[in-house]
């Protein structure tokens, strides 16, 4: 199994460096609305990184009503859940379905976009100064202590 993103809200300090790292990587500019990751207060009052978990059964893909040439699909080899705007009809069903708020909408174009794990080398995890976002080998996932449920 490939590596996965591990988010630990208890370590997040809301500095939003991840948003800037992602925005620079993906849009070439500093603009949080272009970032695939964002920070949101969770129910416990902790700041939580909202980002695609590249689910094994992605609710976004399941919610997508497009039948031919589905815009969202999980690549079995890399484990990356990818989105393509090509056949997207802009219904935002995926946005509502994602439990992590990871399907984002560009406020200027209305277009949906999402994390592609930077093709397997995510910038957010590299920049995060506290370890709130880590990119972890799946085999080590169970051994990483205190995976916070926050």
């Amino acid at each position: 199994m490939p590596k996965k993103l591990l988010c630990k809200p208890a370590l997040c300090v809301n500095c939003r460096t991840c948003e800037m790292a992602c925005s620079l990587e993906k849009s070439g500019m500093f603009n949080p609305v272009k970032a695939r990751v964002w920070i949101q207060k969770n129910k416990k009052g902790l700041d939580a990184p909202m980002i695609c978990r590249h689910c094994l059964k992605p609710p976004c893909a399941e919610a997508c009503p497009v039948e031919e040439g589905k815009p969202i699909a999980r690549d079995k080899e890399t484990g990356i859940v990818r989105f393509s705007s090509k056949n997207c009809i802009g219904c935002y069903e995926c946005v509502g379905a994602c439990p992590f708020g990871a399907m984002r909408i560009d406020p200027h174009t209305g277009q949906v976009f999402k994390c592609d794990l930077c093709d397997g080398d995510p910038e957010c995890a590299k920049w995060c100064p506290t370890g709130a976002i880590q990119f972890v080998d799946t085999k080590a996932f169970g051994t990483v202590s205190s995976i916070d449920k926050g």
Partner: protein, 635 residues
């Protein structure tokens, strides 16, 4: 354009006119951003002698080319106006997330002019700018104001800089809160907002901006994170924040209490130590882009203040409302921290002002009859809170204190002015300045009155080897805190770092001022990567000198001369009373020697303290020189 957003937003509250102006190249290149551009605009646009609370004062919000880039500590906003507390240049900067949002909306600076007839707030949604009625939030505390405006505008991610009742009531040291627990506290910028009937500025930015060389910028930004995290102050600071200063100063014999009557002899100091404070802290919180996360959220668990929870406590408020007021109860200060944040007043200045009042009371200069029956006795934290609330409300004796200790002392008379400690009306931090000669010089020449963050040479706290001192600052004694030798170049060095941080919009905790190996050269490299404009070390030195001189020219134009470059109160009147520095003094002779030295380093006239024509012209400030000459301030 890279780095800069490229637009200045000008809003006149008197006639409702809203203008967007192109950010002039000369202004950008010569003053960079933040404090630099703000100070230049203050000199150019605010005429001398005006009433700081009148409509002719202007309020400048300044971002910089690095603001909102995700670079470490790039979340700051710098706010400038003529100060209603000191009558000279007023400015203050805060972290949080407001500065980046304003930048992403497309504005480097916002200039607020005039005054509204009734309470309003400014709503900026990218290009859409609107002055809206604020009648329904006037009178509300800061968190209630945020909640009401988020509800009204329908988006809790909108960033709001707001004043509380302190600013509305024109308390002269009212703050401007840019997030929970982030304050532009010093010099009364919230007061200026209150005088303009401006309750808040709300902003949402979705436009973003580019930097000139993203690859290089990214490389430097990552390198800075490593430098900061491996720096000598990171570990302690990321856990405890600035609160560790109190016990740190104490261990050096420099802590002060009871309005600086007492030095080094505070038996309850451990109440303010890391172990005690961390009992109340629930988690670390950062400003935008910051790996240091020196802020905290806290909750008091036991005692009379149990349940009190809030944000962002730090050294200044803990020391000013703690030992300076003779208050041993750190939980009471956490309560006071919340009052200051919610009602929007400076935690530092309010504490120092109350400390003076406690001493006046002790000495019988004021009595219970003056204080509306409140016994201002050292350590009576209930009385302290009661008088603080009266100050915020300008009720009874609080009305007098709301003008700050310098103005209040003048009104009270009876020798009250002997017991206030300040420089040009700006209070001196709660550390024994007599033991730190360079810090005293820095306070004396600071353009906003007493203030460590204008350039205290931190190296005096941890002196280096004489040879190294000579190599870096030209004198073996420059870093010796007891010596008056070589302080001119020393203070200029640290003041330059601080000025560049303020112009770049970054926190001083991320540079050489705070023992992190990031200096003018490195800051210039980053400014170049962001803007594409050459900011070599030589140009950065010119830039900071230009900012220092335009600020000094503003002060000179307001009537400041060499005689004002001094400290007032206990610091110059009395020797250190106890501790390892017992008997140490700050002498006028020594002060004069340091001023001569500093003036010659920065190119100011030794007699008047005004920048010379040669200095101003050498920095491209011909118009400033001409104006000062026209007023007879310089030949």
């Amino acid at each position: 354009m890279y780095g800069w957003a490229g637009t200045l937003l000008r809003v006149n509250l008197s006639d409702g006119k809203i203008q967007k102006e192109e950010h002039p190249e000369a202004l950008r290149h010569q003053f960079l951003g933040g404090r630099g551009v703000n100070s230049r605009l203050l000199f150019s646009e605010v005429e001398p002698g005006i009433d700081p609370l009148g409509p002719k004062n202007k309020l400048f919000f300044g971002a910089s080319p690095l603001t909102g880039t995700g670079l470490v500590t790039s979340g700051r906003i710098h706010v400038t106006a003529k100060s209603p507390l000191t009558g000279i240049l007023g400015d203050s900067n805060a972290g949080g997330h407001f500065g980046p949002e304003m930048k992403w909306a497309g504005y480097d600076h916002i200039i607020i002019e005039g005054a509204a007839e009734k309470p309003v707030y400014l709503w900026i949604d990218d290009d859409h700018v609107e002055i809206r009625d604020a009648g329904h939030v006037w009178g509300k505390v800061v968190s209630e104001t945020y909640a009401a405006l988020w509800d009204e505008l329908g988006d809790p991610r909108i960033r709001i800089a707001a004043i509380g009742p302190g600013g509305e009531n024109l308390v002269r040291f009212a703050s401007l809160m840019t997030d929970y627990g982030n304050a532009c506290g010093k010099t009364g910028m919230g007061t200026v907002m209150g005088a303009k009937n401006l309750k808040a500025v709300a902003v949402r930015g979705t436009k973003g901006f580019h930097v000139a060389d993203p690859g290089r910028f990214k490389g430097i930004a990552r390198d800075w994170v490593t430098k900061i995290k491996s720096g000598p102050t990171y570990e302690g600071f990321s856990k405890v924040g600035t609160m560790s200063y109190l016990t740190g100063y104490h261990s050096q014999g420099r802590s002060v209490a009871r309005n600086a009557q007492v030095t080094a002899d505070i038996d309850y100091i451990d109440n303010y130590g890391a172990k005690s404070m961390m009992k109340h802290m629930t988690r670390s919180v950062a400003c935008f882009g910051c790996p240091i996360h020196c802020k905290h959220e806290f909750k008091v668990k036991k005692g009379p203040y149990a349940g009190e929870h809030g944000h962002g406590t730090e050294f200044c408020i803990m020391s000013a409302h703690g030992p300076a007021c003779g208050n041993p109860d750190e939980a009471a200060v956490l309560k006071i921290n919340n009052i200051c944040n919610e009602y929007g007043i400076c935690g530092d200045t309010s504490g120092i002002t109350l400390a003076a009042a406690f001493e006046w009371y002790e000495r019988g200069i004021i009595t219970k009859e003056d204080t509306d029956g409140i016994p201002l006795e050292w350590g009576n934290s209930e009385a302290q809170i009661e008088m603080l609330m009266k100050t915020i409300g300008r009720e009874g004796f609080g009305d007098l204190l709301a003008d700050g200790c310098a103005i209040a002392a003048e009104k009270i008379g009876k020798g009250a002015e002997k017991y206030i400690n300040h420089t040009k009306g700006g209070d001196i931090d709660a550390v024994d300045i007599r033991t730190l000669k360079g810090c005293a010089l820095s306070d004396a020449v600071s353009s906003r009155g007493g203030d460590p963050q204008r350039g205290w040479p931190g190296v005096e706290f941890y002196p280096i080897r004489p040879e190294k001192s000579k190599k870096l600052f030209g004198s073996e004694h420059a870093t010796d805190p007891r010596s008056y030798e070589g302080k001119g170049p020393l203070v200029d060095y640290y003041a330059s770092l601080c000025t560049m941080c303020d112009a770049l919009g970054i926190c001083k905790f991320s540079c050489g001022w705070f023992a992190t190996p990031i200096y003018l050269k490195e800051m210039g490299e980053l400014a170049t990567a962001a803007t594409g404009v050459d900011f070599s070390e030589k140009k950065v030195r010119e830039l900071v000198a230009r900012i220092n001189n335009v600020e000094r020219a503003y002060l000179v134009r307001e009537g400041i001369t060499r005689k004002d470059d001094t400290l007032h109160g206990r610091a110059v009147e009395e020797p250190v009373p106890s501790g390892p520095y017992k008997g140490e003094r700050l002498t006028q002779e020594g002060m004069d020697k340091m001023l001569d030295d500093y003036y010659s380093v920065v190119g100011w006239d030794r007699k008047t303290g005004a920048p010379t024509r040669k200095t101003l012209e050498g920095l491209g400030l011909q118009d400033v020189a001409d104006e000062l000459a026209g007023m007879g301030k310089i030949p």
